[in-house]
């Protein structure tokens, strides 16, 4: 079936990607990151970044408001848990639909402008949503206390089939609770599906049209394409990805707060994408994992760990080295991340994936072209 077709190269990338994601509990162990809460975040924010890249990487439209769709996804999923059922499938489906509609409205207005004006418009809409969640919309969002499950939730579908248990219920998939590693594997499978869809978009004529819009919008319209619906579709798709990520956050922890929609969260996904490599399939995933790793692990390093790490340094210098290094970990993790970001943007404008490509080029036999035929010289005329 055409739906499942991938080129041989893409199929190989897909297989490797799936393998890396499924074996995450193994390879994260040496980094001390192999607990399910963090691995779930790795999977969820990778989905967020992949979706963001469908818009930013392909069309070049830089949205500074994508966290709004993440937040909408979370709220929708928690409401689905509260009103209908603790099963995750309806929660995810509703979250994708609602965030998609939300993206349609914001995208329709924002895409009337391009460049920095587009970015500012999306930022304005997201901050508006964030502030509304704290003020006017508190009946829906529960304001600062966050939207949570309560013992009195109606849960119409669940309670039609069974008794209300003691304590708060947990999210489940067809009756199997998704706690710990099961929760991670659920998110991992969704990530793999999300990656597959992104691969299909990147390789498709639709993806090529989006790249062409980024390259030259004037040529696109004189070539017979109505560019606005193309950009809007990309915006809605990336909004749906964000909504999916938001729903998964609610699956792993059924609670939705407005801080998920704040501009810092929107900025974070921009950083993830640029750090990893804009417009590449794998880059945003690597960026998401790096940033979440820094945020969760690097930030917990203390002087004790550093002291052991620098144990090989002789005594008089040891304390100085530890004192200097300590500024870059723990609460100073953002300093390290910031420096890393600056270094990548200055020396590898294409992100970490550009670094990977450069290293790969070093190992390739000289004279072998990067793409077959690309370096073939033109015959003399």
């Amino acid at each position: 079936m055409a739906l499942f077709q991938l080129s041989r190269r893409d199929a190989l990338i897909f297989a490797l990607f799936a393998l890396v994601v499924i074996t995450m509990p193994v390879w994260t162990a040496p980094f001390g990151a192999n607990y399910s809460g963090l691995m779930q975040k790795f999977a969820i924010y990778a989905i967020f970044a992949i979706g963001f890249n469908v818009l930013f990487g392909l069309t070049g439209y830089l949205s500074f408001g994508h966290a709004a769709f993440l937040g909408v996804g979370s709220y929708t999923a928690v409401w689905s848990f509260k009103l209908l059922t603790m099963d995750v499938i309806p929660a995810i489906v509703f979250a994708i639909i609602v965030s998609g509609l939300f993206a349609l409205a914001i995208g329709y207005l924002s895409l009337r402008r391009s460049g920095i004006y587009f970015s500012i418009l999306t930022l304005a809409f997201a901050q508006m949503s964030y502030n509304l969640a704290y003020s006017v919309l508190t009946p829906i969002t529960n304001g600062e206390t966050s939207l949570q499950l309560t013992l009195k939730d109606p849960r119409i579908i669940d309670l039609a089939f069974g008794e209300r248990g003691a304590g708060l219920p947990t999210a489940s998939l067809f009756g199997n609770t998704l706690i710990g590693l099961e929760g991670f594997y659920f998110c991992a499978v969704v990530l793999i599906l999300a990656f597959f869809l992104a691969q299909k978009i990147f390789a498709s004529p639709f993806g090529m049209m989006l790249r062409a819009i980024k390259s030259n919008q004037t040529r696109m319209s004189y070539t017979g394409f109505n560019t606005r619906p193309y950009a809007l579709t990309a915006f809605v798709i990336s909004g749906m990805y964000a909504g999916l990520a938001g729903a998964l956050l609610a699956v792993t922890d059924p609670l939705a707060g407005a801080e998920r929609m704040q501009w810092t969260a929107s900025g974070e996904v921009v950083l993830m994408t640029i750090l990893g490599g804009v417009g590449t399939l794998i880059g945003p995933v690597i960026g998401a994992w790096l940033i979440k790793y820094f945020e969760n692990i690097f930030s917990s390093f203390n002087e004790g760990i550093l002291s052991r790490f620098f144990g090989f340094v002789a005594e008089p210098a040891h304390d100085t080295v530890v004192a200097i290094a300590s500024k870059f970990v723990g609460e100073g993790w953002q300093l390290t991340l910031g420096l890393l970001f600056v270094l990548v943007v200055v020396f590898l404008p294409g992100g970490i994936m550009e670094g990977v490509r450069r290293i790969a080029a070093l190992f390739r036999r000289p004279g072998t072209p990067a793409t077959p035929g690309a370096m073939r010289t033109q015959p003399a005329e």
Partner: protein, 261 residues
């Protein structure tokens, strides 16, 4: 042949265009028959590019209308005009610099096949064999086949023009507008392009061409309109134009004779 015998496909009907107080075009009347190659010549600033921009929908005329095959083009969006079968080569090549040469030429074929908008994610681009084969054949025609996997942005200016021409040709437009298609090309490349345009003509494609190079104009044109100061001062067969005193006066200040090199 008189106009009534010919099948007129493009009719520029009494078009004027003002920019503030500047009359860029005044009362332009132009008829282009099916299959004809119609050249528009004139000194710099005569309004040639403005006229082309009005036809393609980039500029709205102050007065008058452009009619293509019985349908009014004026007021339509550029993509709608293209979907009606009008394609254009720009004076400064408008291409997709970030895509490969092959992708540049394949993209317009999708507009022709799938229309102005279609979400098509099922089949990868590389499995679109029909469009790919046609793009490769056209690249062969314009002499860019060996560079089909290069980045379009890395091409020389002359190659970009030939690629842009290929991007128009793959759409099989009924009317092709060419804004100085050989500017910046070597003599050899110019001759290749002339041969190519002659070949297209044999397929019956209607063309409007703006060109400075008289060698190109006299090799290709069936009919020539001379534009000066926003007005058409002469119109006729190449031989008539060549000998027209008024044209020589306006075009070259009377200093030189208009000649095919």
């Amino acid at each position: 042949m008189t106009a009534s015998e010919r099948n007129v496909v493009l009719h520029v009907d009494d078009v004027s265009k003002n920019f503030g107080g500047l009359h860029a075009l005044s009362d332009i009347d132009l008829e282009v028959a099916e299959g004809e190659t119609h050249a528009i010549i004139g000194p710099n600033g005569a309004g040639k590019s403005t006229l082309l921009n009005v036809i393609i929908g980039r500029l709205a005329p102050t007065r008058g209308a452009v009619v293509f095959d019985g349908e009014v083009l004026t007021g339509r969006k550029p993509y709608q005009i293209n979907q009606m079968g009008v394609a254009r080569v720009f004076q400064t090549p408008e291409i997709f610099s970030d895509l490969t040469v092959l992708q540049n030429v394949m993209t317009p074929a999708f507009a022709r096949r799938d229309g102005a908008f279609k979400i098509n994610i099922l089949k990868p681009v590389e499995r679109e064999a029909e469009i790919r084969d046609e793009a490769e054949a056209i690249l062969e025609d314009v002499g860019l086949a060996p560079r089909r996997l290069s980045h379009a942005g890395a091409l020389s200016r002359g190659d970009k023009r030939r690629m842009e021409l290929a991007m128009c040709l793959i759409q099989h437009p009924r009317l092709l507008l060419l804004d100085e298609p050989t500017a910046g090309m070597s003599r050899h490349d110019t001759n290749t392009t002339i041969d190519l345009l002659k070949k297209i003509k044999a397929r019956g494609m209607t063309k409007v061409i703006i060109e400075h190079d008289m060698h190109v104009v006299f090799s290709l044109a069936d009919k020539i309109s001379v534009l000066s100061g926003g007005r058409i001062i002469a119109e006729g067969l190449p031989d008539d134009i060549r000998g027209n005193e008024k044209v020589q006066e306006a075009y070259l200040g009377g200093a030189h004779r208009l000649e095919a090199h």
